[in-house]
Symmetry: C2
């Protein structure tokens, strides 16, 4: 896909290992947008610098700067991209379908991901004094609960297709796929989630998903 | 406001103390919708019953059932209400404004709230063995970080008005106001957040917000 002129006005702040940035990379790829990538090294703490916090006070990745305005929070960025570049749509056309896709996305974004991110893991280590094994068990617990809810919904829903909703990827898949990688890193047994494994396989048949993978980023280590 | 005919086709599953249900109650009030309220007692574990999980497998509150379809996740419900009842809008009209309001909302919904909810507190108690004092410190830490990011954004943004974006409440305020109550419960000093206190005061001049408060619910204890 060729770069859209819109991309020329955008900067995307990313880190290869961030699963929130993995989401925004998928969305940018699906929309055929190729903004300038600015690599912010999370483990070196570059997100905490004054320069970065000046436009993204949370000091989190990703951020998108467009027309000089900064947007933080991956889902705000993705909804924005879907509004300014309507094709292909990242949400179903009907309001109940949209609500369902958002519900699945928020199970990941509001119930799983926040409990596993780096700053929470750091706090569990210090001051709370937990071991790597306890951290892994913590991650597995929350990922397992969330994925089970998604598996249950998807396995029972008439609207399930190749993807979480129908045969085209939506916001739900954009959130789910990076989380599946995190589940493996937390050594979660994925056999109780056959529908999610099947959807993951469908996603990785699309270059929008494979090109967005952490290992395929220019800043990958 | 009179009950809309739309409300007759809706059921809202709520619990007075749930701050996610506080959000959906505000949104329903702003839209003038008065669906049947079904009270699910979280502390008695009613959200874990088979009957409830049959349509909301996460076993979380709130849920909205409309035309026989269930929607879980408060923000999915609120975006849905905003799509089916456009007035008054809960998001700004311009895409960058919408992205900004969503960013603020997600700072609450994806970065603060998930770390303080009941099931996470329960896990920190058992198996992790933390005391009430450690739980309070945990809550204060994450609420303080998130509110500071919102205060910083709001204090520097041209679009700030009586509310987080302009002079009408948006999704951002709908998420912020319940979180302010949680901040007080966690004994967080709120003086570093003068803009948020001012916005809270503006919100509580509207019956949509006061009527949605936990203490004003029929199931309040």
């Amino acid at each position: 896909m060729s770069s859209s002129p819109l991309s020329a006005t955008m900067k995307h702040y990313t880190y290869f290992r961030s699963s929130a940035a993995f989401r925004t990379r998928i969305a940018l790829n699906l929309k055929g947008l190729k903004p300038e990538q600015v690599f912010v090294h999370l483990r070196k703490g570059e997100q905490g610098t004054e320069g970065y916090r000046a436009f993204n006070p949370q000091g989190l990745i990703p951020a998108l700067v467009h027309y000089g305005r900064a947007i933080g929070q991956s889902l705000a960025i993705i909804e924005y991209l879907d509004e300014i570049v309507p094709e292909p749509p990242l949400l179903p056309a009907d309001p109940l379908g949209r609500a369902y896709a958002r519900q699945l996305a928020y199970i990941v974004a509001c119930e799983i991901h926040p409990l596993g991110n780096m700053r929470v893991q750091n706090y569990l280590r210090d001051p709370l004094g937990h071991s790597d094994a306890e951290l892994l068990a913590w991650s597995r617990h929350w990922i397992g609960l969330g994925l089970l809810a998604i598996e249950t919904l998807v396995s029972g829903a008439a609207q399930t297709g190749r993807f979480c909703h129908g045969d085209q990827p939506t916001l739900a898949d954009i959130c789910l796929i990076p989380q599946m990688g995190n589940a493996r890193r937390a050594e979660l047994d994925l056999t109780p989630y056959p529908n999610l494994l099947r959807i993951e396989q469908a996603a990785f048949e699309l270059s929008a998903f494979t090109d967005a993978m952490p290992k395929n980023q220019p800043d990958a280590e």
